[in-house]
């Protein structure tokens, strides 16, 4: 299968196989006008199988959302057909309006438009806690 290489844009590499569509939705890629290639189940020496996303435009990425979905993603920034920058992600310290608290006793279940905030308390294994009620979120 041949996918054209991009001139100015972003390649998200080393995505855990099966997560590409979730990333696509989280980053709103389906609403872009440019070419977006979503490649699933690519053979990888390191990972066995991986997903890959190519975006043929420089866009602002929500690194928090991306790091939360898969902190092992590599972001390759392509300028004039050349790799100009490589970024590794980390688990974000804070998740702002990315996940909803599921604790029925939490104030966010009733307070109008309260921001959903989760704070990272442990990286390995990943563990977030609701900034309001301390409910755990394990990132799954």
């Amino acid at each position: 299968m041949k996918i054209d290489s991009i001139c100015n844009g972003i390649v998200l590499d080393h995505i855990e196989a099966g997560k590409a569509m979730r990333i696509c939705a989280a980053l709103g890629l389906e609403s872009l006008d440019c070419t977006v290639a979503i490649i699933k189940n690519v053979k990888s020496e390191k990972m066995g199988r991986k997903d890959l996303i190519k975006i043929d435009e420089m866009i602002d990425l929500d690194l928090n959302a991306l790091g939360f979905i898969d902190p092992n993603i590599t972001i390759n920034v392509i300028r004039e057909g050349q790799l100009s920058e490589k970024k590794k992600l980390r688990l974000p310290r804070e998740l702002f309006n990315i996940v909803r608290c599921k604790n029925p006793r939490c104030i966010t279940t009733v307070e109008q438009e309260a921001d959903q905030i989760f704070c990272l308390v442990s990286e390995n294994p990943p563990l977030y806690r609701c900034a309001y009620c301390d409910a755990a979120y394990h990132g799954k």
Partner: protein, 310 residues
Amino acid sequence: MAVPELRHLIDIKDLSLDEIDTLLALGDDIIARPADYQDAAKRKKLATLFYEPSTRTRLSFEAAMLELGGSVLGFSSQDSSSATKGESVADTIRTVQCYADIIALRHPKEGAPVVAARHAAVPVINAGDGGHNHPTQTLTDLMTIRRELGTLEGLTIGLCGDLKFGRTVHSLIAAMVRYPGTRFVLVSPRELRAPDYVLEEIRRGGCACEESHTMEAVVPVLDVLYMTRVQRERFFNEAVYVRLKDSFILDVPKLAHAKKDMIVMHPLPRVNEMSVRVDENPHARYFVQALYGKYIRMALILKLLGRWGA
């Protein structure tokens, strides 16, 4: 001169150990020299916004403010506020801060005081949020332990009853893990074990902790026995409450092998988890604990009104 930052008290961890020490020392000074503080909050107003019933917490806040020469306004049930019309906590706080210099908030939903603090231009005190936290009860507990036992270090604290929904237990553990040499003994039915984030806090603090399903076996090693009520209002299923409510009942014979100086505390109200016969027992401290609650809240109000550090 820089304006000291606005401070709230949402979680006991918002206070450093030095700040807790400062509050406890101020509380001691208020007890020793009450006349010196009778006008300390003159012309200031405290709003007590209680969306849940309360006796001790609300009245001790109000008594504290009145003894400081200030005044009090507010409501004592959700039904007597615009919450019944669906008003949010954020809007209530933005309104009340127009009329008061400091706010004490009790709410059945966990994290409501965080929402309040995010929208407030005056200090907000968490007076209990659901089964989550109750930091001013913890300050009360620390003051009681320090005044009655002379130290907060090297103590074995037994916590008994509803450790799952007992917000006073969660906040007390969060405070005591920071004092060197603390050991915890947790006594509860399996269904009412402390939540994992509380157990995690104990592990992170490096404190020794043992869990037990009988009270008698652990009483002899304790310096403090902290009793709690099984909280009917937190159960979605009444049958589960009925099955668990009588799990642990403290009576005088169970105290027979306690250390001489061991103290029995309880945040109150009690239902039937503690016999009234214990009230006259020399180990009992829960009514003096309620009294200390007023003094430590006086200290807290003064510190927060003075924009801490001023």
